[in-house]
Symmetry: C2
Subunit: 284 residues, 2 copies
């Protein structure tokens, strides 16, 4: 039996399915304390059988590099009670025979979109989410990459949009990408949630500026052949087209991967990306 777990900051999803990402049965429930959340996930899975492999997609920062002391643990998360909790230790104790594979939630979503969604068949892609925070997952040469920790894409810095003097909302950096372009940043700068801003509001030109510059950094470093942008903020009208137009303008014909259009696209798997990614992780 193949199982998947998507651990989110507010909701958790468990599923039984195939290593190709097909969900046979799933359950969504609110994330509570680590002990309670994992007890619920483990019981639900155990009632359905003994998993041979479990893929886990988790919020971060989380140790995803096998062999390091930090492997399997939530790191310095501000979420109360979760820092140092061992996801892998807890699951391995419950399912000693199971093969466990842990990745960040955005890497799992990147994998799902590359195998089954908006980047189907591509080996080099990035998946960006713009919501409460900003994150990115990266598949390079058909493999998820994470380096020594994993991407912290939201905390890079990009040039200021013209006339933007907003101080930013990131509690660490103020005006990093997340500080200037996340949902809370938009809400604080304009006094309205992204979902309530009309399509012709100047907020959107500024938002596409920041996201296009963030994608330029991804392009210059990881060289994806397509970038999928999801998350609540990306659901604004024509968001992907406008971001791609600006990206072409600032890239000035230089980057060969940009010649494949459309380059900036919406996800196809929606809310299913994380849990499908978790099942796919169980198969790699």
């Amino acid at each position: 039996m193949i199982a998947g777990i998507e651990l989110g900051g507010s909701k958790t999803v468990v599923a039984i399915g195939t290593a190709e990402g097909q969900v046979h049965e799933e359950w969504r429930f609110p994330t509570s304390s680590p002990a309670e959340t994992f007890q619920q996930a483990i019981s639900w899975i155990a009632e359905r059988g003994t998993p041979e492999s479990i893929g886990i997609a988790a919020f971060g920062p989380v140790g995803v590099v096998r062999g390091r002391d930090s492997y399997g643990k939530l790191l310095a998360t501000p979420k109360p009670g979760w820092a140092d909790f061992s996801i892998i230790g807890t699951l391995q104790a419950a399912f000693p025979q199971a093969r466990l594979t842990l990745e960040t939630d955005v890497n799992a979503a990147a994998l799902a979109e590359a195998r089954l969604g908006a980047a189907r068949g591509l080996d080099d892609i990035a998946y960006i989410t713009i919501g409460t925070g900003i994150g990115a997952g990266i598949l390079s040469g058909g493999r998820l990459i994470h380096g020594a920790l994993h991407s912290e894409f939201g905390h890079i810095k990009v040039p200021r949009a013209p006339k933007d003097s907003f101080e930013g909302v990131c509690s660490f950096h103020g005006d990093c990408l997340e500080g200037l372009a996340s949902g809370p940043s938009i809400a604080k700068r304009w006094g309205l949630a992204a979902a309530d801003l009309p399509a012709d509001h100047p907020a959107w030109a500024m938002e596409t500026w920041y996201i296009a510059h963030g994608i330029l950094s991804l392009l210059g470093i990881a060289s994806p052949s397509r970038v999928i942008v999801g998350g609540g903020v990306s659901q604004a009208e024509n968001f992907h087209q406008h971001t791609e137009q600006l990206l072409h303008s600032i890239a000035a014909g230089y980057f060969a991967p940009l010649e494949a259009t459309p380059y900036v696209v919406a996800p196809l798997l929606g809310q299913q990306a994380g849990i499908k990614g978790a099942l796919l992780l169980a198969g790699i």
Copy 2:
């Protein structure tokens, strides 16, 4: 027999050695036309035996993804006569039995520094060079990554240094990282070559600003556990220490990989990095 070729814009190096990067014999000569340069390299190698494997480290842009139409070819390089020249086609015709492995010059240097130099034993590193241009090679999880093309690190954008209104020298982007922080950029902005600027010149605070912000982008996207900075501009007094200090300041305690110090270091292999990297490529 194992051979390596380092194809640079102005000089080419050929070597016979081991797949562990040991050079038995090498020859350096000026890069001329593609036909002449490769004829010289091929003759020199053929006089010494029949190579079973050849690693090639080339300037870019160059197609390094096996299976693509562009594999093995120089792409839209401004270097006269080189665009569309097939490195792999030319070498395979001369040595039909040889296994050929092609990478960018900076990826080859990253591999050499990770196996034999300043990042020995590390699996997740970046190698940056700052000279006529700015480039980066990335090793992630022990593998060189290149995505759909390869890194074009010099052409990302970062925030302007305080009070810097210089328009930049990049012919595509003006004020991309390379446009604001390469050797030609320093020379044009200050009227003096980097090598002639005294250690207390304000140019250096500005230079470390740009390089530290570039490294922050690498850190947020590829998460290396160490960054090696080479190239002529990096040879200024205390350049690595000052860049690391500023990087810590802008990172504000957020990035776990930065806790491993020193984080920003000089290369150890100097001029040998490229050719040793080419030999190592022959072994992977």
